[in-house]
């Protein structure tokens, strides 16, 4: 697909909407190339998605730096927030992985803050929700899956394969159970990525649909849809936090499995 094709789709999405007269709710997920880049034949264009990733990274960095600029013994408001997020993730890692998992705390912290920032940025009107793209969540999930598997083999060697052999089951059942265990292990990156992506996409599609209802129903009926949108926005803020939390805590649990088996 060329760039002009993408623009053509975009135009259709904006105004066509499948002939219903309503705006296409999927239009908000469109990837727009802001700066065309081609690195060794690979499309590395700076897109709206990339822009919001950069914004999220910059916001997190600024937040931590500004919050900790005084490094007071008695923290101010912003410093308290930074410390609370630190303790929150640190406790999450300690509780779910154990003290030997604190090596991976910086990664979990970055992951949690990054996903949280991307989810929350998506709640800003006219912004782009990076985590509503399966490729982003799957990229993160696949990285975690491969990393955790490598940690498991590095830590336990070939014995890590025992992870797929449940203990205390009749020998005759083992072939079936090992297959089930392997399948459930291999589906982890898929479930992890689809959970986040589907939640974000569904929520934002819903908001868009009801947003268009507000306009379509006009001054008389639009209020009901608007009231629903207000409530639903609150729910979406909760989901944005919860999904970042779930993503981070599942990563902790996978990490715990790799470090301690079970």
């Amino acid at each position: 697909m060329t760039v002009t094709d993408a623009h053509g789709l975009e135009e259709a999405g904006q105004h066509g909407g499948g002939g219903t007269g309503l705006p296409d709710p999927m239009h908000q997920f469109e990837i727009k190339r802001l700066v065309e880049l081609d690195v060794f034949g690979v499309d590395a264009s700076f897109t709206n998605s990339g822009l919001f990733m950069v914004i999220a990274a910059v916001l997190i960095t600024l937040f931590t730096l500004i919050a900790m600029r005084r490094r007071a013994l008695v923290p101010g408001r912003l410093q308290s927030v930074a410390e609370v997020s630190y303790e929150f993730v640190a406790n999450m890692v300690r509780d779910n992985v154990g003290t030997d998992g604190m090596k991976y705390f910086p990664f979990i912290f970055t992951l949690f803050m990054f996903v949280l920032a991307l989810n929350m940025l998506g709640m800003v009107p006219y912004s782009f929700t990076v985590t509503s793209h399966i490729i982003v969540t799957f990229g993160l999930a696949a990285f975690i899956f491969i990393g955790v598997t490598l940690i498991g083999f590095w830590k336990h060697g070939i014995k890590f394969l025992k992870f797929f052999v449940p203990s205390g089951v009749p020998f005759i059942m083992l072939p079936l159970l090992v297959v089930i265990e392997v399948i459930s292990y291999l589906t982890r990156p898929i479930s992890l990525s689809v959970r986040l992506f589907a939640n974000m996409m569904a929520g934002h599609t819903m908001l868009k649909v009801f947003g268009s209802f507000v306009v379509a129903l006009g001054l008389l009926g639009g209020w009901a849809a608007l009231a629903f949108m207000v409530a639903f926005t609150g729910l979406e803020l909760l989901v944005a936090f919860l999904q970042a939390y779930v993503f981070a805590i599942l990563t902790c649990i996978y990490l715990n499995d790799a470090l301690h088996m079970h």
Partner: protein, 161 residues
């Protein structure tokens, strides 16, 4: 669904890797050590404060114990001094009293002796007076003075009766 366009995947993955990688490095080397250092410093501060408070409390308890011991010792000492003083005083009083009693006894004995003597001499005089009076009465009654010896015998017999 725009999410399923494979042409959009490469730029997203590349920028994900870039931004997440840089953010991770920033967190590991800049942000997290700062937050962790402050939290550790606070924990150490609180721990040392608690330790010094505990030390002070123990010192206070020791001081109180020492004070109470000193107080008990002083009380004991005071009691000893009081007892000693009382015993000494008692002894002195007893000695004084004994001395006084002895003196009084001596004096009363002396006085009794004197009274006895005075009584004896008075008695002797009474006899003489009685003899004189009797001889005068007898002379007045019978006109003659009896023998002095008879009168004396009669007076003595009458006094004895």
């Amino acid at each position: 669904m725009p999410q399923l366009n494979p042409l959009d995947w490469a730029p997203q993955l590349i920028w994900l890797l870039l931004t997440f990688g840089i953010l991770y490095l920033l967190m590991v080397f800049v942000a997290l050590p700062r937050i962790g250092a402050v939290i550790d410093k606070r924990a150490a501060h609180i721990a040392s404060d608690l330790a010094s408070a505990d030390k002070l409390r123990r010192e206070t308890e020791e001081a109180i114990a020492a004070y109470e011991q000193a107080l008990a010792e002083a009380k004991q000492k005071a009691h000893a001094i009081i007892d000693e003083g009382r015993a000494k005083l008692k002894k002195e009083i007893a000695a004084e009293r004994a001395k006084l009693e002895k003196e009084l006894a001596a004096r009363s004995a002396e006085a009794e002796a004197r009274i006895e003597k005075a009584k004896a001499s008075a008695m002797k005089e009474v006899s003489a007076v009685a003899v004189d009076v009797a001889s005068d009465i007898v002379r007045a009654l019978i006109g003659t003075a009896p023998a002095k010896g008879d009168i004396e015998n009669a007076v003595n017999a009458a006094r004895k009766a």
